[in-house]
Protein backbone atom coordinates (compact mmCIF):
# COMPACT_ATOMS: atom_id res chain seq x y z
CA UNK A 1 0.00 0.00 0.00
CA UNK A 2 1.50 3.29 -1.02
CA UNK A 3 0.69 6.11 1.31
CA UNK A 4 -1.00 9.27 0.15
CA UNK A 5 2.16 11.11 1.20
CA UNK A 6 3.41 9.95 -2.19
CA UNK A 7 1.16 12.55 -3.67
CA UNK A 8 3.34 15.41 -2.52
CA UNK A 9 6.67 13.78 -3.29
CA UNK A 10 6.21 13.58 -7.06
CA UNK A 11 6.49 16.53 -9.39
CA UNK A 12 2.94 16.16 -10.71
CA UNK A 13 -0.05 16.71 -8.47
CA UNK A 14 -1.54 13.49 -7.15
CA UNK A 15 -4.80 11.91 -8.14
CA UNK A 16 -8.07 12.23 -6.28
CA UNK A 17 -10.18 9.16 -5.75
CA UNK A 18 -13.52 8.59 -4.09
CA UNK A 19 -15.66 5.47 -3.98
CA UNK A 20 -19.41 5.42 -3.58
CA UNK A 21 -19.57 2.81 -0.86
CA UNK A 22 -23.35 2.59 -1.20
CA UNK A 23 -22.84 1.13 -4.64
CA UNK A 24 -19.77 -0.94 -3.74
CA UNK A 25 -20.61 -4.62 -3.37
CA UNK A 26 -17.09 -5.59 -2.26
CA UNK A 27 -16.55 -7.55 -5.45
CA UNK A 28 -12.85 -6.67 -5.06
CA UNK A 29 -12.12 -6.27 -8.77
CA UNK A 30 -10.48 -2.94 -7.95
CA UNK A 31 -8.23 -4.74 -5.47
CA UNK A 32 -6.94 -7.06 -8.19
CA UNK A 33 -6.46 -4.16 -10.59
CA UNK A 34 -4.66 -1.87 -8.13
CA UNK A 35 -3.71 -3.86 -5.03
CA UNK A 36 -1.54 -1.06 -3.67
CA UNK A 37 -4.49 1.32 -3.49
CA UNK A 38 -7.58 -0.77 -2.85
CA UNK A 39 -8.10 -3.61 -0.39
CA UNK A 40 -10.92 -5.37 1.40
CA UNK A 41 -10.74 -5.45 5.19
CA UNK A 42 -12.82 -7.98 7.10
CA UNK A 43 -15.67 -9.39 5.02
CA UNK A 44 -16.48 -6.40 2.87
CA UNK A 45 -15.02 -3.12 4.13
CA UNK A 46 -13.28 -1.48 1.18
CA UNK A 47 -10.23 0.61 1.98
CA UNK A 48 -9.03 2.90 -0.78
CA UNK A 49 -6.30 5.47 -1.05
CA UNK A 50 -8.04 8.79 -1.77
CA UNK A 51 -4.83 10.48 -2.95
CA UNK A 52 -2.59 8.17 -4.97
CA UNK A 53 0.57 9.57 -6.59
CA UNK A 54 0.18 10.48 -10.26
CA UNK A 55 2.60 7.74 -11.33
CA UNK A 56 -0.01 5.15 -10.30
CA UNK A 57 -2.51 6.55 -12.72
CA UNK A 58 -2.62 3.46 -14.96
CA UNK A 59 -3.38 1.18 -11.99
CA UNK A 60 -6.08 3.49 -10.69
CA UNK A 61 -7.65 3.80 -14.10
CA UNK A 62 -7.65 0.00 -14.42
CA UNK A 63 -9.43 -0.24 -11.07
CA UNK A 64 -11.99 2.36 -12.05
CA UNK A 65 -12.84 0.53 -15.26
CA UNK A 66 -12.85 -2.87 -13.55
CA UNK A 67 -15.50 -1.92 -10.99
CA UNK A 68 -18.70 -3.66 -12.06
CA UNK A 69 -20.93 -1.06 -10.42
CA UNK A 70 -18.91 2.03 -11.47
CA UNK A 71 -18.47 3.13 -7.89
CA UNK A 72 -14.99 4.60 -8.36
CA UNK A 73 -14.49 8.22 -9.32
CA UNK A 74 -11.07 9.61 -10.24
CA UNK A 75 -9.76 13.08 -10.96
CA UNK A 76 -6.31 13.74 -12.31
CA UNK A 77 -5.62 17.41 -11.57
CA UNK A 78 -2.28 17.14 -13.39
CA UNK A 79 -3.94 16.26 -16.66
CA UNK A 80 -4.20 19.14 -19.11
CA UNK A 81 -7.82 19.99 -19.68
Amino acid sequence: MSTPADASSGSRPGLRVSVDLNLCQAYAQCCYAAPRHFRIEGHEALFYDPAPAAEHRADIERARVACPVQAIRVEDPGQDA
Binding site: M1, T3, P4, A5, A7, R16, V17, S18, D20, L21, N22, C24, Q25, A26, E41, G42, H43, E44, A45, F47, D49, P50, A51, R73, V74, E75, A81
Partner: protein, 423 residues
Protein backbone atom coordinates in the same frame (compact mmCIF):
# COMPACT_ATOMS: atom_id res chain seq x y z
CA UNK B 1 -31.62 26.63 -19.87
CA UNK B 2 -30.59 29.64 -17.85
CA UNK B 3 -29.17 32.42 -20.03
CA UNK B 4 -25.40 32.77 -19.78
CA UNK B 5 -25.56 36.25 -18.30
CA UNK B 6 -27.27 34.91 -15.21
CA UNK B 7 -25.09 34.49 -12.13
CA UNK B 8 -25.13 31.31 -10.12
CA UNK B 9 -23.91 31.23 -6.51
CA UNK B 10 -23.45 28.11 -4.41
CA UNK B 11 -23.20 28.60 -0.64
CA UNK B 12 -21.39 25.80 1.16
CA UNK B 13 -18.38 24.07 -0.33
CA UNK B 14 -19.01 20.46 0.62
CA UNK B 15 -20.14 17.39 -1.27
CA UNK B 16 -23.63 18.61 -2.20
CA UNK B 17 -22.25 21.99 -3.31
CA UNK B 18 -19.61 20.39 -5.51
CA UNK B 19 -21.95 17.89 -7.16
CA UNK B 20 -24.54 20.63 -7.61
CA UNK B 21 -22.06 22.99 -9.27
CA UNK B 22 -20.83 20.19 -11.54
CA UNK B 23 -24.42 19.42 -12.54
CA UNK B 24 -24.99 23.07 -13.50
CA UNK B 25 -21.98 22.98 -15.80
CA UNK B 26 -22.87 19.55 -17.19
CA UNK B 27 -26.33 20.83 -18.00
CA UNK B 28 -24.68 23.49 -20.14
CA UNK B 29 -24.78 26.50 -17.83
CA UNK B 30 -21.86 28.69 -18.95
CA UNK B 31 -22.50 31.81 -16.87
CA UNK B 32 -20.50 33.06 -13.89
CA UNK B 33 -20.43 30.49 -11.08
CA UNK B 34 -19.23 31.31 -7.57
CA UNK B 35 -18.81 28.81 -4.73
CA UNK B 36 -18.66 30.20 -1.19
CA UNK B 37 -17.18 28.05 1.57
CA UNK B 38 -16.68 28.73 5.26
CA UNK B 39 -13.67 26.43 5.41
CA UNK B 40 -10.45 27.52 3.66
CA UNK B 41 -10.20 24.42 1.47
CA UNK B 42 -11.76 22.81 -1.59
CA UNK B 43 -14.57 20.28 -0.93
CA UNK B 44 -13.38 17.16 0.84
CA UNK B 45 -14.90 13.82 1.72
CA UNK B 46 -16.06 13.32 5.30
CA UNK B 47 -16.66 9.56 5.61
CA UNK B 48 -12.93 8.73 5.66
CA UNK B 49 -12.45 11.14 8.58
CA UNK B 50 -14.01 8.79 11.14
CA UNK B 51 -12.36 5.74 9.59
CA UNK B 52 -8.96 5.69 7.90
CA UNK B 53 -7.97 9.22 8.91
CA UNK B 54 -8.44 8.31 12.59
CA UNK B 55 -6.67 5.03 11.95
CA UNK B 56 -3.69 6.97 10.62
CA UNK B 57 -3.71 5.26 7.19
CA UNK B 58 -4.88 8.40 5.35
CA UNK B 59 -3.80 11.97 6.21
CA UNK B 60 -6.73 14.34 6.72
CA UNK B 61 -5.56 16.56 3.81
CA UNK B 62 -5.70 13.60 1.40
CA UNK B 63 -9.51 13.59 1.38
CA UNK B 64 -10.06 16.34 -1.23
CA UNK B 65 -12.90 15.18 -3.46
CA UNK B 66 -12.43 14.48 -7.15
CA UNK B 67 -14.07 17.25 -9.15
CA UNK B 68 -15.10 17.77 -12.75
CA UNK B 69 -15.17 21.56 -12.43
CA UNK B 70 -12.86 23.55 -14.65
CA UNK B 71 -11.06 26.83 -14.01
CA UNK B 72 -14.22 28.81 -14.80
CA UNK B 73 -15.35 28.80 -11.18
CA UNK B 74 -14.84 31.62 -8.70
CA UNK B 75 -14.02 29.99 -5.34
CA UNK B 76 -14.56 32.18 -2.28
CA UNK B 77 -13.15 30.03 0.47
CA UNK B 78 -12.57 30.84 4.14
CA UNK B 79 -15.32 33.40 4.58
CA UNK B 80 -18.82 32.14 5.39
CA UNK B 81 -22.04 33.64 4.08
CA UNK B 82 -23.68 35.62 6.88
CA UNK B 83 -26.94 36.79 5.36
CA UNK B 84 -29.27 36.48 2.41
CA UNK B 85 -31.28 39.32 0.86
CA UNK B 86 -33.90 37.74 -1.39
CA UNK B 87 -35.34 41.06 -2.55
CA UNK B 88 -32.00 42.44 -3.74
CA UNK B 89 -30.84 38.88 -4.57
CA UNK B 90 -27.52 39.13 -2.80
CA UNK B 91 -25.53 37.02 -0.37
CA UNK B 92 -23.31 38.81 2.13
CA UNK B 93 -20.07 37.22 3.32
CA UNK B 94 -18.35 37.59 6.68
CA UNK B 95 -15.53 39.58 5.06
CA UNK B 96 -18.10 42.22 4.09
CA UNK B 97 -18.30 41.43 0.38
CA UNK B 98 -21.68 41.06 -1.30
CA UNK B 99 -22.37 38.61 -4.11
CA UNK B 100 -25.31 39.11 -6.47
CA UNK B 101 -27.09 35.98 -7.70
CA UNK B 102 -29.82 34.97 -10.11
CA UNK B 103 -29.67 31.31 -9.06
CA UNK B 104 -28.64 30.23 -5.58
CA UNK B 105 -27.88 26.78 -4.26
CA UNK B 106 -27.92 26.42 -0.48
CA UNK B 107 -25.72 23.54 0.68
CA UNK B 108 -24.32 24.61 4.05
CA UNK B 109 -24.62 21.19 5.69
CA UNK B 110 -24.31 20.67 9.40
CA UNK B 111 -21.83 20.98 12.23
CA UNK B 112 -21.24 18.72 15.21
CA UNK B 113 -23.56 19.31 18.15
CA UNK B 114 -21.22 20.60 20.86
CA UNK B 115 -20.98 19.30 24.43
CA UNK B 116 -23.64 21.31 26.31
CA UNK B 117 -21.18 22.73 28.84
CA UNK B 118 -18.91 25.05 26.79
CA UNK B 119 -16.12 25.11 29.39
CA UNK B 120 -15.97 21.31 29.54
CA UNK B 121 -16.28 21.10 25.76
CA UNK B 122 -13.07 23.14 25.40
CA UNK B 123 -10.95 20.99 27.72
CA UNK B 124 -7.84 19.45 26.22
CA UNK B 125 -8.74 15.89 25.33
CA UNK B 126 -12.39 16.63 24.46
CA UNK B 127 -13.24 16.39 20.75
CA UNK B 128 -16.09 16.55 18.28
CA UNK B 129 -15.79 15.16 14.75
CA UNK B 130 -17.14 16.90 11.68
CA UNK B 131 -14.33 18.56 9.75
CA UNK B 132 -10.85 17.75 8.55
CA UNK B 133 -9.20 19.68 11.37
CA UNK B 134 -11.27 17.83 13.96
CA UNK B 135 -10.16 14.52 12.49
CA UNK B 136 -6.50 15.54 12.37
CA UNK B 137 -6.59 16.70 16.00
CA UNK B 138 -8.34 13.55 17.21
CA UNK B 139 -5.91 11.39 15.22
CA UNK B 140 -2.99 13.06 17.03
CA UNK B 141 -4.65 12.37 20.37
CA UNK B 142 -5.25 8.69 19.52
CA UNK B 143 -1.70 8.28 18.22
CA UNK B 144 -0.46 9.39 21.64
CA UNK B 145 -2.02 6.17 23.02
CA UNK B 146 -4.50 7.51 25.58
CA UNK B 147 -5.19 5.27 28.58
CA UNK B 148 -8.91 5.19 27.75
CA UNK B 149 -11.15 6.83 25.18
CA UNK B 150 -14.67 7.78 26.16
CA UNK B 151 -17.20 8.00 23.34
CA UNK B 152 -20.29 9.99 24.27
CA UNK B 153 -23.20 8.96 22.07
CA UNK B 154 -23.90 5.64 20.34
CA UNK B 155 -25.02 6.81 16.90
CA UNK B 156 -23.18 5.95 13.70
CA UNK B 157 -20.18 8.20 14.31
CA UNK B 158 -19.92 7.10 17.94
CA UNK B 159 -19.94 3.44 16.89
CA UNK B 160 -17.37 4.10 14.16
CA UNK B 161 -15.00 5.87 16.55
CA UNK B 162 -15.41 3.28 19.30
CA UNK B 163 -14.78 0.31 17.01
CA UNK B 164 -11.84 2.08 15.43
CA UNK B 165 -10.27 2.61 18.87
CA UNK B 166 -10.46 -1.16 19.40
CA UNK B 167 -8.72 -1.69 16.07
CA UNK B 168 -5.96 0.56 17.39
CA UNK B 169 -5.87 -1.52 20.57
CA UNK B 170 -7.10 1.35 22.75
CA UNK B 171 -9.43 0.79 25.72
CA UNK B 172 -12.74 2.48 24.95
CA UNK B 173 -16.04 3.03 26.73
CA UNK B 174 -19.16 4.04 24.84
CA UNK B 175 -21.84 5.81 26.89
CA UNK B 176 -25.28 5.93 25.35
CA UNK B 177 -28.46 7.07 27.11
CA UNK B 178 -30.64 4.82 24.94
CA UNK B 179 -31.11 1.09 25.58
CA UNK B 180 -28.65 0.04 22.84
CA UNK B 181 -26.33 1.78 20.40
CA UNK B 182 -28.05 2.97 17.20
CA UNK B 183 -31.47 2.52 18.86
CA UNK B 184 -32.86 5.77 17.53
CA UNK B 185 -32.17 4.92 13.88
CA UNK B 186 -32.27 1.12 13.84
CA UNK B 187 -34.40 0.31 16.90
CA UNK B 188 -33.43 -1.69 19.99
CA UNK B 189 -33.59 -5.10 18.34
CA UNK B 190 -31.05 -4.46 15.58
CA UNK B 191 -29.15 -2.02 17.82
CA UNK B 192 -28.59 -4.83 20.33
CA UNK B 193 -27.30 -7.18 17.61
CA UNK B 194 -24.77 -4.62 16.42
CA UNK B 195 -23.89 -3.60 19.98
CA UNK B 196 -23.09 -7.23 20.78
CA UNK B 197 -20.65 -7.38 17.85
CA UNK B 198 -18.80 -4.31 19.14
CA UNK B 199 -18.84 -5.57 22.73
CA UNK B 200 -17.31 -8.79 21.38
CA UNK B 201 -14.42 -6.70 20.05
CA UNK B 202 -13.87 -5.18 23.46
CA UNK B 203 -15.88 -1.94 23.35
CA UNK B 204 -17.12 -1.40 26.90
CA UNK B 205 -20.82 -0.56 26.45
CA UNK B 206 -22.60 1.62 28.97
CA UNK B 207 -26.12 1.86 27.55
CA UNK B 208 -28.88 3.50 29.53
CA UNK B 209 -26.22 5.73 31.07
CA UNK B 210 -25.56 9.43 30.74
CA UNK B 211 -22.48 11.58 31.27
CA UNK B 212 -23.27 14.38 33.69
CA UNK B 213 -20.01 16.28 33.71
CA UNK B 214 -16.38 16.14 32.66
CA UNK B 215 -13.65 16.63 35.24
CA UNK B 216 -10.28 18.16 34.36
CA UNK B 217 -6.88 18.64 35.94
CA UNK B 218 -5.19 21.83 34.77
CA UNK B 219 -7.48 22.07 31.77
CA UNK B 220 -7.02 18.44 30.67
CA UNK B 221 -9.80 15.89 30.78
CA UNK B 222 -9.21 13.24 33.45
CA UNK B 223 -12.58 11.59 34.00
CA UNK B 224 -16.28 11.65 33.29
CA UNK B 225 -18.96 11.56 35.96
CA UNK B 226 -22.12 9.70 35.07
CA UNK B 227 -25.62 10.57 36.26
CA UNK B 228 -25.77 7.27 38.18
CA UNK B 229 -22.74 8.38 40.24
CA UNK B 230 -20.14 6.15 38.57
CA UNK B 231 -16.96 7.57 37.05
CA UNK B 232 -14.94 6.70 34.01
CA UNK B 233 -11.27 7.66 33.94
CA UNK B 234 -10.46 8.79 30.41
CA UNK B 235 -7.95 11.17 28.84
CA UNK B 236 -9.78 11.48 25.53
CA UNK B 237 -13.53 12.01 25.04
CA UNK B 238 -15.28 12.12 21.70
CA UNK B 239 -18.60 13.93 21.82
CA UNK B 240 -20.80 12.27 19.17
CA UNK B 241 -24.21 13.75 19.85
CA UNK B 242 -25.36 14.32 16.30
CA UNK B 243 -25.44 17.44 14.20
CA UNK B 244 -26.91 20.93 14.03
CA UNK B 245 -27.82 22.35 10.61
CA UNK B 246 -26.05 25.48 9.43
CA UNK B 247 -29.08 27.69 8.84
CA UNK B 248 -28.38 30.74 11.06
CA UNK B 249 -27.17 32.74 8.08
CA UNK B 250 -30.71 32.47 6.64
CA UNK B 251 -32.31 34.20 9.64
CA UNK B 252 -34.09 37.30 8.43
CA UNK B 253 -34.27 36.09 4.82
CA UNK B 254 -37.96 35.23 5.10
CA UNK B 255 -37.27 31.59 4.28
CA UNK B 256 -38.70 28.73 6.31
CA UNK B 257 -35.61 27.52 8.16
CA UNK B 258 -34.62 26.54 11.68
CA UNK B 259 -31.89 24.40 13.30
CA UNK B 260 -33.69 21.38 11.83
CA UNK B 261 -33.09 22.47 8.24
CA UNK B 262 -34.28 24.65 5.38
CA UNK B 263 -37.64 23.64 3.92
CA UNK B 264 -37.97 22.74 0.25
CA UNK B 265 -40.90 21.79 -1.93
CA UNK B 266 -41.08 18.53 -3.86
CA UNK B 267 -39.22 20.04 -6.81
CA UNK B 268 -36.33 21.20 -4.62
CA UNK B 269 -37.01 24.96 -4.42
CA UNK B 270 -36.81 26.52 -0.98
CA UNK B 271 -39.99 27.69 0.72
CA UNK B 272 -40.62 31.04 2.34
CA UNK B 273 -42.29 31.43 5.72
CA UNK B 274 -45.70 31.35 4.01
CA UNK B 275 -44.89 28.09 2.24
CA UNK B 276 -44.37 29.64 -1.21
CA UNK B 277 -41.43 28.42 -3.31
CA UNK B 278 -38.66 30.86 -4.26
CA UNK B 279 -37.76 29.70 -7.75
CA UNK B 280 -34.34 31.33 -7.68
CA UNK B 281 -33.14 29.19 -4.79
CA UNK B 282 -32.78 25.46 -4.22
CA UNK B 283 -31.22 23.51 -1.34
CA UNK B 284 -29.46 20.15 -1.13
CA UNK B 285 -27.62 17.82 1.21
CA UNK B 286 -27.58 17.60 4.99
CA UNK B 287 -29.23 21.03 5.37
CA UNK B 288 -32.30 20.38 3.19
CA UNK B 289 -35.65 19.31 4.61
CA UNK B 290 -38.02 18.03 1.97
CA UNK B 291 -41.16 15.93 1.47
CA UNK B 292 -40.20 12.37 0.54
CA UNK B 293 -42.63 10.84 -1.97
CA UNK B 294 -41.81 7.28 -0.90
CA UNK B 295 -42.88 8.08 2.66
CA UNK B 296 -46.18 9.85 2.00
CA UNK B 297 -44.43 13.20 1.65
CA UNK B 298 -43.24 13.21 5.24
CA UNK B 299 -40.66 15.99 5.56
CA UNK B 300 -37.23 14.55 6.16
CA UNK B 301 -33.61 15.68 6.44
CA UNK B 302 -31.10 13.00 5.57
CA UNK B 303 -27.48 13.14 6.64
CA UNK B 304 -26.36 10.68 4.02
CA UNK B 305 -23.50 10.92 1.56
CA UNK B 306 -25.64 9.54 -1.27
CA UNK B 307 -28.30 12.12 -0.56
CA UNK B 308 -25.78 14.99 -0.82
CA UNK B 309 -24.72 13.65 -4.22
CA UNK B 310 -28.15 12.89 -5.68
CA UNK B 311 -29.92 15.94 -4.32
CA UNK B 312 -26.97 18.18 -5.20
CA UNK B 313 -27.17 17.02 -8.81
CA UNK B 314 -30.95 17.40 -8.83
CA UNK B 315 -30.81 20.94 -7.42
CA UNK B 316 -28.01 22.03 -9.76
CA UNK B 317 -29.97 20.92 -12.81
CA UNK B 318 -33.18 22.43 -11.50
CA UNK B 319 -31.58 25.83 -10.98
CA UNK B 320 -30.21 26.09 -14.50
CA UNK B 321 -33.51 25.23 -16.10
CA UNK B 322 -33.86 21.48 -16.31
CA UNK B 323 -37.47 20.60 -15.58
CA UNK B 324 -37.61 17.57 -13.30
CA UNK B 325 -40.02 14.90 -14.54
CA UNK B 326 -41.04 14.08 -10.99
CA UNK B 327 -40.37 15.30 -7.45
CA UNK B 328 -36.99 14.49 -5.96
CA UNK B 329 -37.40 11.12 -4.29
CA UNK B 330 -34.25 9.00 -4.38
CA UNK B 331 -34.41 5.94 -2.17
CA UNK B 332 -32.34 6.92 0.89
CA UNK B 333 -29.18 4.82 1.22
CA UNK B 334 -26.41 4.89 3.79
CA UNK B 335 -23.33 2.96 4.78
CA UNK B 336 -21.22 2.97 7.93
CA UNK B 337 -17.92 1.16 8.35
CA UNK B 338 -17.49 0.29 12.02
CA UNK B 339 -14.07 -1.23 12.47
CA UNK B 340 -14.18 -3.94 9.82
CA UNK B 341 -17.94 -4.27 10.05
CA UNK B 342 -20.04 -2.76 7.26
CA UNK B 343 -23.57 -1.59 8.05
CA UNK B 344 -25.59 -0.52 5.00
CA UNK B 345 -29.15 0.62 4.74
CA UNK B 346 -31.83 1.47 2.22
CA UNK B 347 -35.01 3.31 3.06
CA UNK B 348 -36.05 4.95 6.33
CA UNK B 349 -36.86 2.96 9.45
CA UNK B 350 -38.98 5.65 11.12
CA UNK B 351 -42.39 4.35 12.16
CA UNK B 352 -41.47 0.68 11.70
CA UNK B 353 -43.76 -1.70 13.59
CA UNK B 354 -41.92 -4.92 12.79
CA UNK B 355 -38.49 -6.12 11.74
CA UNK B 356 -37.67 -9.45 10.09
CA UNK B 357 -34.29 -11.13 9.81
CA UNK B 358 -34.38 -12.23 6.18
CA UNK B 359 -30.81 -13.36 5.62
CA UNK B 360 -27.97 -14.62 7.76
CA UNK B 361 -27.83 -14.80 11.51
CA UNK B 362 -27.31 -11.93 13.97
CA UNK B 363 -25.45 -14.28 16.31
CA UNK B 364 -22.94 -14.91 13.52
CA UNK B 365 -22.54 -11.17 12.96
CA UNK B 366 -23.85 -11.15 9.37
CA UNK B 367 -27.50 -10.58 8.58
CA UNK B 368 -30.12 -8.51 6.81
CA UNK B 369 -32.98 -6.90 8.74
CA UNK B 370 -36.07 -5.81 6.82
CA UNK B 371 -38.33 -3.23 8.46
CA UNK B 372 -42.08 -3.16 7.94
CA UNK B 373 -44.82 -0.72 8.68
CA UNK B 374 -48.50 -1.49 8.34
CA UNK B 375 -47.75 -4.47 6.17
CA UNK B 376 -45.30 -2.75 3.79
CA UNK B 377 -41.50 -2.90 3.52
CA UNK B 378 -40.02 0.50 4.47
CA UNK B 379 -36.30 -0.10 5.07
CA UNK B 380 -33.57 -2.72 5.06
CA UNK B 381 -30.30 -2.88 6.97
CA UNK B 382 -27.48 -5.20 5.91
CA UNK B 383 -24.71 -6.02 8.38
CA UNK B 384 -21.66 -7.42 6.56
CA UNK B 385 -24.15 -8.60 3.93
CA UNK B 386 -23.95 -5.87 1.28
CA UNK B 387 -24.64 -8.24 -1.57
CA UNK B 388 -28.15 -8.89 -0.26
CA UNK B 389 -29.05 -5.24 0.03
CA UNK B 390 -30.00 -4.39 -3.58
CA UNK B 391 -32.75 -7.05 -3.68
CA UNK B 392 -34.09 -5.73 -0.38
CA UNK B 393 -33.83 -2.12 -1.58
CA UNK B 394 -36.08 -3.11 -4.49
CA UNK B 395 -38.71 -4.35 -2.01
CA UNK B 396 -38.53 -1.06 -0.15
CA UNK B 397 -38.71 1.06 -3.30
CA UNK B 398 -41.76 -0.95 -4.42
CA UNK B 399 -43.36 -0.76 -0.95
CA UNK B 400 -43.72 -4.52 -1.24
CA UNK B 401 -45.89 -6.41 1.27
CA UNK B 402 -44.28 -7.16 4.64
CA UNK B 403 -43.28 -9.73 5.75
CA UNK B 404 -42.02 -10.78 2.37
CA UNK B 405 -42.34 -14.27 1.00
CA UNK B 406 -39.39 -15.96 -0.61
CA UNK B 407 -36.58 -13.46 -0.02
CA UNK B 408 -34.61 -15.77 2.24
CA UNK B 409 -32.67 -18.22 0.15
CA UNK B 410 -30.69 -19.61 3.06
CA UNK B 411 -33.59 -20.79 5.18
CA UNK B 412 -36.32 -23.20 4.22
CA UNK B 413 -39.39 -21.58 5.62
CA UNK B 414 -40.45 -18.17 6.72
CA UNK B 415 -38.53 -15.42 8.43
CA UNK B 416 -38.25 -14.50 12.10
CA UNK B 417 -40.26 -11.33 12.81
CA UNK B 418 -39.45 -9.16 15.84
CA UNK B 419 -40.67 -6.04 17.55
CA UNK B 420 -38.23 -3.40 16.20
CA UNK B 421 -37.95 -1.60 19.54
CA UNK B 422 -38.43 2.05 18.76
CA UNK B 423 -39.13 4.20 21.81
Amino acid sequence: MAPVFERAVVVGAGLAALRGAEAMREAGFAGPLTIVGAEPCRPYDRPPLSKHVLAGTVPAEATTLPSALGPDVDWRLGSPAVSLDRVGRTVRLADGRTLPYDRLLIATGTRARPWPNPHEGRLAGVFTLRGRDDAAALRRALAARPKRVLVIGGGFIGCEVASLCRQLGLPVTLVEPGPTPLARVLGRTVGAFIGAIHAGHGVEMRCGAEVEWLEDADGRLVRAHLVDGTRIDADVAVVALGAVRNTEWLDGSGLSSDPGGIDCDGAGYVLDADGRPDRHIAAAGDVARFPHPLYDDRRVVLEHWSQAVAQGIHAGRLLVGATPERPYGELPTFWSTQGKLVVKSAGLTEGADAVAITQGDPAAGRFVALYGREGRCIAAVAVDSARWLPAHADLVAARAPFPPGGTATDRPKGVAVFEPGFA
